[in-house]
């Protein structure tokens, strides 16, 4: 019961975060619910993988991004939006903000304690650790969500195309006009 509650809370806040960060890039209004669903599913999956399955943050982020990528393939076809419109905002709540912050913080503390050999090497180690985690996670997110595009090239590239039956109906009109 507790697990279910935690996952739902995690997904809820991730959905708000995804839709909010998405709003900065001016998405079509119809895409907002889709972004929220993707962000919630992805973040809840990562949370479950990290906290209950004990997987590291980079692999967990990669799996979550993969899920977001495949789901955006399905939703994008239904909403007739390009996949990137849906999955870029949905990935943003998974950016490892605390690691990024600690990178900046350890860099500042390193510069402040540059004369002290023990302290400065400690901060240097922290700087490197946090920077590597940040960069790896962001790269894993971007690549994970892009893989579905490569797997289903035809479908991914024609997301915004009209459905064949609509196209046919229009062609019929053209023919009728010509006559």
């Amino acid at each position: 019961m507790n697990i279910v509650y935690e996952l739902i809370a995690d997904g809820f806040f991730a959905a708000i975060a995804g839709m909010g960060f998405g709003a900065i890039s001016d998405p079509p209004l119809k895409a907002f619910p889709g972004i929220g669903i993707l962000a919630a599913l992805g973040h809840a999956l990562r949370y479950a993988l990290m906290d209950y399955a004990g997987i590291d943050i980079a692999s967990a982020s990669f799996c979550a991004a993969l899920l977001i990528g495949f789901m955006s393939l399905l939703l994008g076809e239904r909403l007739r939006c390009p996949m990137t419109v849906l999955y870029i905002p949905a990935l943003l709540p998974m950016i490892p903000g605390m690691y990024a912050y600690r990178t900046v913080f350890s860099m500042i503390m390193f510069m402040q304690n540059i004369g002290d050999a023990a302290l400065s090497s400690e901060y240097m180690a922290a700087l490197l650790l946090n920077a590597v985690v940040t960069v790896t996670v962001i790269f894993a997110l971007a690549v994970g969500a892009t893989i579905p595009i490569f797997l289903f090239k035809e479908k991914a590239y024609s997301m915004t195309r009209e459905k064949p039956r609509n196209r046919k109906r229009h062609d019929g009109n053209v023919l009728a006009d010509n006559k």
Partner: protein, 255 residues
């Protein structure tokens, strides 16, 4: 078979279309596909070379082998997913229905002048997003509320300064400083100040150029992808400068 004027007219339109797409944050391979598709609807071949600030466009008539080339400037527009989506749909419609150029242009004008998103709405949504982000990182109620109002301060400053037309690096430094300065008041209440400070500046992360850059690189547009990533990283550095200014003020309390 196209006359010289027709070819020139098509080239002008495709140049405008490609510039609009590249300027509003669409990844390169989509721009290339869309422009080629528009060209196909007019029975001409389009080749495009893209850089960060300019693009080179060549159109050729397959029957007469007449070729025209143009260099276009890429305008610096705000990122717009709606334009990305609508202009892509326009290219498919043009190709599927063989629309004449004047119709495509009319439709294009209509799509470009569609209402933009309300800045007040963006500000409120971004602040709610940052507050829930703080909750995701394990901040307590006090930290969440302070991050919410700090983001309102930082985001409104960003919008005011952008309206004044200030250089965007300076805008990022000042907004990051202001947001983190406000978030540092979480220290007063023994709240999770570290989480509050870390999340208060995250609304400035240029996520779209970063991810577009990675997509461009894995799709083979390595030069443009790298320049997108470098551009985004410069903004991240500005963000870090603004955050460091606050951290230098309050660092003794964080140890």
């Amino acid at each position: 078979m196209k006359t010289e004027e027709q070819l020139q007219e098509t080239l002008d339109f495709i140049g405008e279309y490609a510039g609009q797409l590249l300027g509003s944050g669409v990844h390169t391979s989509r721009v290339v596909r869309n422009t080629k598709r528009i060209g196909r609807s007019q029975d001409i071949n389009v080749h495009i070379t893209t850089f960060q600030r300019t693009a080179i466009l060549t159109v050729s008539d397959p029957e007469t082998h007449r070729t025209l080339t143009e260099v276009i400037d890429i305008p610096q527009l705000p990122i717009s997913f709606e334009l990305n989506s609508n202009l892509s749909a326009l290219s498919w419609r043009a190709a599927d229905r063989h629309m004449p150029l004047c119709d495509i242009r009319e439709e294009y004008r209509r799509l470009v002048s569609r209402p933009k998103i309300n800045p007040l709405f963006v500000m409120l949504m971004a602040s709610l997003a940052n507050a829930s982000f703080c909750r995701l990182f394990g901040g307590d109620l006090c930290a969440v509320c302070i991050v919410f109002s700090s983001t309102l301060v930082g985001f409104s400053l960003k919008q005011e300064l952008q309206k004044m037309g200030l250089n965007h690096f300076i805008v990022f430094i000042l907004s990051a400083f202001m947001a983190s300065l406000c978030a540092s008041s979480a220290l007063v209440f023994n709240a999770d100040a570290e989480v509050a400070l870390a999340t208060s500046v995250l609304f400035l992360i240029p996520g779209v150029p970063l991810i577009n850059g990675v997509i461009d690189i894995v799709e083979g547009h390595i030069l443009l992808g790298l320049s997108r990533i470098i551009n985004a990283l410069l903004l991240v550095v500005c963000l870090a400068i603004g955050l460091s200014a606050t951290l230098l003020l309050v660092k003794n309390s964080l140890l």
